[in-house]
Amino acid sequence: MSGLRVEQVGFAWGPKTALDAVSFDAPAAGFCALLGPNGAGKSTLFALLTGLMRPASGRIEVAGHDLARAPRAALARIGAVFQQSTLDLDLTVRRNLTYFAALHGIAGREAARRADAALDRLDMRERADEKARALNGGHRRRAEIARALMHDPAVLLLDEPTVGLDAAARRAITDHVHDLSREAGICVLWATHLVDEVRGDDRVVILHHGRVAAQGPAAEIAGPRPLTDVFLTMTGKAAA
C-alpha cells in the first residue's frame, strides 16, 4: 500500500495553472524528494496535500484514505512541517508539542509520553522546557519535526524544511529525516530545490512548471551524470 498517492492533480490560481495532472506515488516507508525550482508548484501541492485547499481535479490518497472523501481520516495520518515556522515562540517546546497533540485528540500522560518519545527521536529532550524563542533555527526545525511525529503519522510532509539553516544544521536535519523514514517506516515527502539533500536510493519527483518532469529512484534519474546537472537541465537552469 502506498503511503501517499497523488493522481492527476490539477490546480489553478485564477487563470494561471499551478499544477497540471500531477501524479506520483511515495512509498509507505521511504524518502521521496519533491525537487523543483522556486515557483514549480511545490508549496501549492503541499497546501493541497494538507487539506488547506482542494484540488480542482484529481485525487489524493493518504495511507489508503481519500483526502476528499475521508478528510478527517486522511489528516489524522499526516504530519506536516511547513516552510514557515508554525511554533508558538512564547510557549515551551513541550507545550508546543502537547498543544498539537491536543488538536489530534491526545492529552494528559499519553501526550507527555509521546512528547518525550518524539523529542528523544530528534535529540531534543534536554531542550523540552525551553521557550521556542530561545532555540536557534536548526533546533526550531527539529522541534517542528518532533511535533509532526506526535500522533505517529504514516506520512510526513516537509516543505523546504532546511530553508535559512546553516550547512551543519541542514545536514543534521536531512540525516535525521532519512533515518526516520527507514527506522520508523514513515513515508516522507521532502520538498526542496537543493539537490544535495537527496541520496542515491531516495525516490525523486521532479516538478517543473506545475508538471512532473521525471520520477523514479534518484540514481536512475541521474544515470551517469550528477543529479544536479540532470535537474538543472530538466528545469532549464543549466548554464549554456
Binding site: M53, L75, R77, T86, D90, Y99, A102
Partner: protein, 276 residues
C-alpha cells in the same frame, strides 16, 4: 480493500473534541496572560470613556426613564452596558487581527490541518476569545463599581450568559472578517468601516429615541445594527431582565457571522483559495 486499524486514527466520541477545546482555550488564556499590556489596554479604553466622555456629556444629555431603568439614571450608568459591548467588540477584532497574523505567520495552518471538523475548531477559537472578553468585562465592572457605578447584584450573575452570547457574536464577526482580510495592513480599514460605525451607530452611547430626534433613518440604522442588539441584551441582563428580541437578533447575527466564517475558512472557497 479493508484497512487495518490506524494507530494514529482519531479516537471516536466527544473526547478528542473536548481535548482540543480545552487546549485552544488554555492557549488563548496563556497568551492573554503573557500580554499584560493587552489586558491593561482593554480596560483603559472603556474606563477613559467612562471617566472623560461620560463626565463631559453628563450635563449635555438628559435621559428619560426607559426600560430596563425604573428611575432616573445618570449618563455614566447608561453607557456601562455599551462599554461592556465595546470591550467585547474590540476583543473580537483583536482576535481577528491575531488570526490574520497567525495565518500570515503560519500557525493557523496548524489548527486547520487538525483532523477535527473545521467548524468545531473555529468554534473553539471563538469560545477561547469569548472567555477572555468575559473576563475583561467583569474586570471593568469591578472597577466601575469601585468608582460608584454599582448595579443590582443579580445583574452581575445574569449578565454572564448575555456576555457569552454577545462575545460569541462579536467574535464570529471578527472571525468572518479575518477570513476575508488578506493582509494585516488592511486592518485599518476594518477599524474605520466596521468597529467605529458599529459602535457609534448603536445604543452604546445614546438611546434610540435620542437618535430619532436627530434622524429617523439614523434610528433605523442603529436598530438593525447587531451591536445595538448585543448592547441591549447586556443592558437588560445587568438588571436581571431578559430582552427576548435582543437575544433573538444577537443569536441570528451570530449564526450569520459564524456561517460566513466557516465558509471563509472552507478549503474549497474563501481566502485559502486566493493566493496571498
Amino acid at each position: 480493500m479493508t484497512l487495518a486499524p490506524d494507530p494514529s486514527a482519531l479516537r471516536s466520541g466527544p473526547g478528542p473534541w473536548l481535548i482540543a477545546l480545552r487546549a485552544i482555550v488554555a492557549r488563548e488564556a496563556l497568551r492573554f496572560v503573557h500580554q499584560r499590556e493587552r489586558f491593561v489596554a482593554a480596560l483603559v479604553r472603556p474606563l477613559v470613556w467612562l471617566a472623560v466622555f461620560a463626565a463631559g456629556f453628563r450635563s449635555a444629555l438628559g435621559l428619560s426613564i426607559i426600560p430596563p431603568y425604573e428611575t432616573y439614571i445618570d449618563y455614566e450608568t447608561y453607557i456601562v452596558p455599551g462599554l461592556c459591548g465595546m470591550i467585547q467588540l474590540f476583543n473580537g477584532m483583536q482576535s481577528s487581527l491575531s488570526l490574520v497574523y497567525d495565518r500570515e505567520m503560519g500557525s493557523m495552518r496548524l489548527l486547520l490541518t487538525s483532523p477535527l471538523p473545521r467548524p468545531w475548531l473555529l468554534l473553539c477559537k471563538l469560545a477561547a476569545g469569548c472567555a477572555i472578553s468575559v473576563l475583561q468585562v467583569y474586570a471593568f465592572l469591578a472597577i466601575a463599581a469601585a468608582f460608584g457605578i454599582v448595579l443590582p447584584w443579580e445583574g452581575y450573575v445574569a449578565v454572564l450568559p448575555a456576555l457569552v452570547v454577545t462575545g460569541l457574536m462579536l467574535g464570529a464577526l471578527g472571525l468572518a472578517l479575518s477570513s476575508f482580510i488578506r493582509q494585516l495592513e488592511n486592518f485599518a480599514g476594518v477599524m474605520n468601516f466596521v468597529i467605529f460605525p458599529m459602535f457609534f451607530l448603536s445604543t452604546a452611547l445614546y438611546p434610540l429615541w435620542k437618535m430619532a430626534e436627530s434622524s429617523p433613518l439614523l434610528r433605523d440604522i442603529c436598530a438593525v445594527n447587531p451591536f445595538t442588539q448585543g448592547v441591549e441584551l447586556i443592558r437588560f441582563a445587568l438588571y436581571a431582565r431578559l430582552e427576548p428580541a435582543a437575544l433573538g437578533w444577537t443569536l441570528l447575527a451570530f449564526a450569520v457571522f459564524a456561517g460566513l466564517a466557516v465558509r471563509g475558512y472552507d478549503p474549497a472557497r474563501g481566502l485559502a483559495q486566493r493566493k496571498a
